[in-house]
C-alpha cells in the first residue's frame, strides 16, 4: 500500500505511544498525500510504569500527562482527529467484547475508512495490543467481505514471522523521520529517544534502517 492513495484511515491502538513506534512515519506519509486520519486510542496508558527520566509523573498524574503527550504526538504526525475511548489500561481483554467492538463499529460506520491500522491479534506481545487487534478484526469482520477495508497490523511477538510470514507492507518512511522522531519525543514520560529498544543492540546504520522502515501484515481472513 506504499504507493496507493488512501483517503480515510482509522487507527485503533490501546496506548498513547503505540502509534509512535510502528506507524507514525506511515501515517505522516499518507497524510502528506492527502489522507485524513482518525486515531482511536483506547486507553490513556494509565498503568504504565515509566514515569519520566528522572520520574516527573506518578500513578495519579500519569493519565493527564500521557494525554497531553499523545496530543503532541498527533500534532507532530499531522493526525487530524484523535478520539479517546476511555477504557482502562490493562483491562481490555476483560471488557465486554460487545462494548469494545461496538465502539469500534460505530467509528467504522462514521469514518468509512479504506484502511484500518491496528495490532495483529495474537502476535503483539501486550495483552491490550492483542485484545485491541482482536476487537478491530471482529468489528471489521461484521462487514460483508466486499466492503471490508484493508486491515494493516503491527506484530512483534517472538516468532511472528514464522507464523505470519514476512510483512507484506513495508514502508520506507525515511522522508518522514522528522515527524516520527518528534512523535517519539512527545512521549517523554515513556522513553528517552537515546535509549529506544534496539539501540545498543544494533549498529547506528541498522538503527536508522529500523527506525526508517515500518512493517505491517495485512490481516488474512480465515477462508
Amino acid at each position: 500500500m506504499g504507493g496507493r492513495l488512501v483517503n480515510n484511515i482509522l487507527v485503533v491502538l490501546p496506548h498513547p505511544d503505540d502509534e509512535a513506534f510502528g506507524a507514525s512515519g506511515t501515517l505522516a506519509m499518507h497524510i502528506r498525500r492527502g489522507a485524513r486520519v482518525t486515531y482511536a486510542c483506547l486507553t490513556l496508558g494509565e498503568m504504565g510504569r515509566n514515569m519520566g527520566f528522572p520520574p516527573f509523573a506518578n500513578r495519579v498524574t500519569l493519565p493527564q500527562i500521557r494525554k497531553a503527550e499523545l496530543e503532541e504526538s498527533c500534532r507532530a504526525i499531522g493526525i487530524q482527529d484523535l478520539r479517546l475511548l476511555g477504557f482502562h489500561d490493562k483491562t481490555l481483554e476483560f471488557e465486554d467484547p460487545d462494548v469494545v467492538d461496538g465502539r469500534i463499529g460505530q467509528l467504522m460506520e462514521e469514518i468509512r475508512p479504506d484502511l484500518v491500522i491496528t495490532f495483529y491479534p495474537g502476535y503483539a506481545v501486550h495483552p491490550d495490543h492483542d485484545a485491541c487487534g482482536a476487537a478491530v478484526v471482529r468489528a471489521v469482520g461484521r462487514l460483508p467481505e466486499a466492503e471490508r477495508p484493508a486491515v494493516h497490523c503491527m506484530a512483534f511477538a517472538r516468532g511472528c514471522e514464522q507464523a505470519l510470514g514476512k510483512p507484506d507492507v513495508v514502508n520506507d518512511i525515511r522522508p518522514y523521520l522528522e515527524q516520527k522522531i518528534a512523535a517519539l519525543q512527545a512521549h517523554r514520560s515513556q522513553f528517552r529517544f537515546g535509549s529506544l529498544p534496539g539501540r545498543g543492540r544494533m549498529s547506528e546504520s541498522e538503527f536508522a534502517d529500523w527506525l526508517g522502515t515500518e512493517r505491517f501484515w495485512t490481516y488474512r481472513w480465515p477462508t
Binding site: M47, M51, F53, P55, F56, N58, R59, K90, V125, A157
Partner: protein, 114 residues
Amino acid sequence: MRPIDPGDVQARIDRLKDRDLHLHLEMTTGAYTAHYDQTKHQASVFVTNARVRFSRGSVAGQGPFRVGLKTENGWVYAEGLTHYADEETERLIMAGHDQDGKLVVALQLSPSPF
C-alpha cells in the same frame, strides 16, 4: 514525587487513620519483561479503589521503605517504596522506583476514589 521522608510520611499516615479510604495497591515487573528476557517471570497485580479503614499504620526501614496498615480483619503491606507526592494534601501517594526510574510498586490512599 520526592524521596520518602519517613517522618512526613508517618504524619500523613496518622492523618488518614480511622477513616474510610480508597486504596490503590500495585506491583509490576513490567509488561515487556518476558518479551525482552525469556528467563524472567512476568507478573503484575493491582487493586484500585478498594475500600479500607486502618486502625494502625506505620512506615518502616531505612529506605527503600515498608508500610503496613492494620485493618479491621487484616493487613495492607508494601515493600520497596522510595518516593511520595509531597504536594498532596488529602491523599497519600507512594511509589517505589527502580534504578531506571520505572515504577515497581505503588501504595495510595485517598478519601475520594482514584
